[in-house]
């Protein structure tokens, strides 16, 4: 019988979040565990290597370990995309990336800083709190299939309803009659009938015009203005998601490059970059299979965390070193790799506060380093330091990390690509809209690098 113990599964304080997370683990583990064990038996019988499982933290772990605690894999899918973003960051030598993966129904946003995907120490999933470290991904309901509509106050809205893949946008010609983001692109000519989409789908231009035209009449706009408006509202939705992930977390997006992927991402990248003051955009050539590449190249990782609540004379170098060593030992044991390297994160606050800031600078060693880094971060995020405030280390997290497969992205078959806006570039798996003022070339990895001219 699978057993879930809250101090093992979560290990941090705040009983409701810990209990809710453990309950989810107990509910999901029998299902995922049985599935993974069957899979393991069959890969073994077929003489294949044992599969690895992507965890919400963005690292891989043995299927046998994942089978014991399903909660570690709840965000497995989006974490694959985040791992891919880290892969591109390494391959292109761009340590700071804002990533947005826009598909048919939604848009996932994450941040790579210093080559690492930013983590959060917990979030809500389907209305339930999950108090475990995971890649910090924010999802908004704006995708190519998001439906545009007029609300009772006369505003143009986009989403959260989506036409999905069936019937899909009106332009798919499968019976969809409501105007979507994709239809707006067709009306404006960024997507055309001359160029079939990935999968050979031919666009029905007339159906798109009819759908957008009906909404335009309702709003009293001409159809092209309406189509441009649909894109502007959808972009605003995504810009808000990117602001939540950056400005609300104390990061200035202007120093970052924008990594756009997913079927619709590169169509919107330039407008979004302009809104945020970003001057560099990366579009990976393998846009549609990027997540799979991310999975193949991800690190193996086991994260352990413990609430310590140390402050004052109890927060010493020795106490810190002991706790780090104990958690690293647990993580290495899970990975079966005694050489796995530690990634340490400290959740710290002023005594008396109840929200922590995560301090994960790899250079930090002693207790005073942690105190100083926290005070600096607090001032940066909130604009003030607490005079005489006592710094409290609430939770320590240590990820034991074994490096993943070395993967080289190369673009040997392709001639380097050179492009200047305004242009629409049709790649095998995506379409890139390049407005006036943007231009660039593909690099050795096949990634298209666009720059804003001054």
């Amino acid at each position: 019988m699978p057993i879930a113990l809250s101090h093992e599964v979560v290990g941090t304080f705040r009983e409701y979040e810990r209990a809710a997370t453990t309950e989810l683990d107990a509910a999901l583990t029998p299902l995922l565990g049985a599935y993974l064990r069957r899979l393991l038996a069959r890969t073994d019988a077929a003489g294949l290597p044992a599969p690895q499982v992507m965890q919400s933290s963005g690292g891989l772990v043995d299927a046998a370990t994942a089978a014991d605690h399903a909660i570690l894999a709840v965000l497995s899918g989006p974490a694959g995309g985040a791992a891919a973003a880290a892969l591109i960051a390494r391959a292109c030598g761009e340590p700071d990336l804002l990533c947005f993966d826009m598909g048919g129904t939604s848009c996932d946003v994450c941040v790579v800083q210093g080559g690492r995907v930013r983590e959060s120490s917990g979030r809500e999933i389907a209305g339930r709190p999950v108090a475990l470290p995971m890649v910090d991904i924010h999802t908004v309901g704006a995708g190519g299939g998001s439906i545009a509509w007029r609300d009772a106050g006369g505003a143009l809205r986009v989403g959260p309803r989506s036409a999905g893949a069936e019937p899909g946008p009106a332009a798919y010609g499968r019976g969809g009659a409501e105007p979507t983001v994709t239809d707006a692109h067709v009306v404006l000519g960024t997507l055309s009938a001359e160029r079939p989409l990935a999968g050979g789908l031919r666009l029905d231009v007339q159906a798109a015009h009819a759908a957008v035209g009906r909404l335009a009449a309702e709003l009293g706009l001409d159809p092209r203005a309406c189509a441009a408006g649909i894109l502007r509202v959808a972009d605003a939705e995504m810009v808000r998601a990117l602001r939540v992930m950056t400005i609300e977390r104390g990061i200035d997006p202007r120093g970052f490059a924008l990594l756009a992927f997913g079927g619709a991402g590169p169509l919107h990248a330039a407008q979004i970059a302009d809104e945020l003051g970003i001057r560099r955009i990366l579009v990976p050539r393998a846009s549609g299979v990027l997540s799979a590449l991310g999975l193949a190249a991800a690190d193996r990782r086991a994260t352990r965390q413990r609430s310590l609540l140390l402050s004052g004379t109890e927060l010493t170098d020795a106490a810190l070193a002991d706790a780090r060593a104990a958690l690293l030992h647990e993580g290495r044991a899970i990975l079966g790799d005694p050489e796995a390297t530690p990634h340490v994160a400290h959740d710290v606050r002023y005594r008396g506060q109840s929200h922590e800031l995560t301090i994960d600078d790899p250079e930090l060693r002693g207790a005073d380093d942690v105190r100083a880094a926290f005070e600096q971060e607090h001032a940066r995020r909130y604009g003030w330091r607490e005079p005489g405030g006592e710094v409290e280390l609430v939770t320590l997290r240590v990820a034991a990390v074994s490096p993943g497969a070395a993967l080289r992205l190369a673009d040997e078959a392709q001639e380097p690509l050179r492009v200047a806006g305004p242009a629409v570039l049709h790649l095998a798996e995506t379409t890139v809209a390049i407005p006036e003022g943007w231009g660039g070339a593909s690099d050795a990895t096949g990634t298209l690098v666009l720059e804003r001219s001054p």
């Binding site: 304080f13 705040r14 009983e15 409701y16 979040e17 007029r150 609300d151 009772a152 106050g153 006369g154 505003a155 143009l156 809205r157 709003l219 706009l221 441009a228 408006g229 502007r232 509202v233 605003a236 939705e237 808000r240 602001r243 939540v244 400005i247 609300e248 609540l309 002023y350 008396g352 506060q353 109840s354 929200h355 607090h378 995020r381 909130y382 604009g383 003030w384 607490e386 405030g389």
Partner: protein
């Protein structure tokens, strides 16, 4: 109607909402009071240069209609860039004394652009008892420091903190409010830079008109006519009656409380701003919560409450419980008039403290059932929208032990759909301390609708002995205070179409 195209309308209103939410995030994450940081008893909002609220973050409903009054109280005076205001006077823009409001003007190139405002429930603002929520106050002065609209500088922060318990915490919380406002001002400036200061003024007017149009469309969908409701508050010296005549005519709603009890010698009195907040909250429930919370959404609503009554008190009435309890009953009256089953109808306010600490908490209970679903259990209802203080955080921070924290099974009213259950929270004092309880629905049960049964009444117990709805006194180490919160009313006749859980 100001004209803004349908696209800009959506873009600007989204940007304003994001700015308010960001202000809220800064406030919650950098404050010290458990009320603010754990329970999020705070609100943030942006105003235009004419002091009209253009957007409020969805935090605490009871602050909805009261924030505009606070900003109006300072907007009439001369504004200087970077010079913020503070107030808590319930008769000059406040609600009750623990809710301190900080207002910061935003300037673009020498011209006033608007205001950022934040309101937070501080753990203590001085007065007779720790936590500043006395169960038995009869005048405002007993409830704490009264701050008329004043310029907030470092000297005033020190002077205010010195009159309150835990002055370091008060100072930190005021700084957190200033930081939140600075964020709001910065976002307003960015927006003005992007669209132009003049255009921003036009855009905010358009966002107000937009909220008005959407609210009117929803009100127009309600059948015309007059509806009546009456209910009571459980005063120390007996019940106090509140009455409502709600009239829908076309796209306008009039809520008339004429005939309600006169203001009393206890602290269930409300400034009109609190009554308006409760009415606006109920209007949001009856319309569409997706409508921006702003001054435009309030235009189709008229609230009438004669001066000198419980719902429009004159100074120097005590008001500590008006904001938390009377406001809940006002919302109940409106919802009952429109056929809704009622939730627990009280915030179950507990304040514990000594010179060493102040702990204030409101407890969840049962929500009323809907026509198509059971009411949720153990949630904050109506005018309160806070989280609970985790047991582990509470025991670390205060000399208290939590003996029990559980769902109060069977307390929800039966019905085709059941009302939600209340909770049980039993606290043991580990040191000597004062307690103060301000609760309602101890004598009268939350009603069901359409044949649904009422939820169970709440109970307050000290070492097993039953206490009245409003109670205060001393606790010795080992004493146990047990609160059982009310269940919600059921909806529909029980057994008519019971869905088995």
């Amino acid at each position: 109607m100001s004209d803004l195209d349908p696209i800009a309308l959506q873009v600007v209103s989204g940007a304003l909402r994001a700015a308010c939410e960001e202000m809220g995030a800064v406030l919650v994450r950098s404050s010290h009071s458990a009320n603010i940081k754990e329970r999020r008893d705070c609100s943030t909002a942006l105003f235009d240069a004419r002091a009209r609220m253009v957007m409020q973050a969805e935090h605490i409903p009871v602050h909805l209609g009261a924030m505009p009054v606070a900003v109006a109280a300072v907007a009439a005076r001369a504004q200087r860039p970077g010079v913020p205001w503070v107030l808590n006077d319930p008769f000059a823009g406040g609600t009750h004394l623990p809710d301190i409001t900080v207002v910061t003007p935003a300037f673009a190139g020498g011209a006033l652009l608007g205001f950022a405002a934040s309101r937070a429930h501080h753990a203590d603002v001085g007065g007779r008892v720790p936590g500043s929520m006395p169960a038995d106050s009869t005048t405002l002065a007993e409830e704490g420091v009264v701050i008329p609209p004043s310029v907030l500088d470092d000297d005033l922060i020190d002077a205010l903190a010195a009159q309150m318990r835990q002055p370091d915490e008060r100072r930190a919380d005021l700084h957190a409010q200033l930081a939140a406002n600075a964020t709001g001002v910065a976002r307003l400036l960015e927006l003005a830079e992007r669209v132009g200061a003049h255009e921003l003024g036009a855009a905010t007017s358009a966002v107000l008109d937009y909220a008005e149009r959407r609210t009117r469309a929803c009100v127009a969908a309600l059948p015309d006519g007059e509806r009546r409701a009456r209910d009571v508050l459980e005063g120390r010296d007996g019940d106090l009656e509140l009455v409502l005549r709600a009239t829908v005519r076309g796209d306008e709603l009039v809520l008339d409380f004429t005939g309600s009890a006169p203001q009393h010698a206890g602290n269930l009195n409300c400034p009109l701003a609190v009554t308006s907040s409760a009415c606006l909250f109920a209007l949001r429930v009856l319309t569409d919560p997706d409508i921006p919370a702003n001054a435009g959404a309030a235009r189709p609503l008229t609230v009438r409450a004669p001066e000198g009554t419980l719902l429009h008190a004159r100074p120097p009435a005590a008001v500590a419980a008006g904001n938390v309890e009377t406001s809940s009953r006002v919302a109940d009256l409106v919802l009952e008039a429109f056929g809704r089953a009622l939730g627990q109808g009280t915030m179950n306010n507990i304040t514990l403290g000594s010179d060493a600490f102040s702990y204030y908490e409101t407890l969840g209970g049962g929500q009323g059932a809907c026509p198509d679903a059971d009411g949720p259990s153990g949630v904050h209802v109506a005018m309160s929208n806070t989280l609970n203080t985790p047991v582990e955080a509470l025991e670390l921070e205060f000399p208290l032990r939590v003996r029990e924290y559980a769902v109060r099974r069977g307390s929800g009213g039966a019905g085709r759909h059941h009302g939600g259950d209340g909770v049980v929270r039993e606290l043991e004092a580990l040191t000597a301390m004062q307690y103060s309880l301000i609760t309602e629905r101890r004598r009268h049960r939350p009603r069901g609708a359409d044949g649904g049964e009422p939820g169970a009444a709440g109970r307050n117990l000290l070492n097993g002995r039953e206490l009245p709805p409003k109670a205060s006194g001393a606790l010795a180490p080992g004493d146990r205070l047990r609160i059982e919160t009310p269940g919600g009313g059921g909806h529909g006749t029980p057994g008519t179409h019971r869905v088995v859980d």
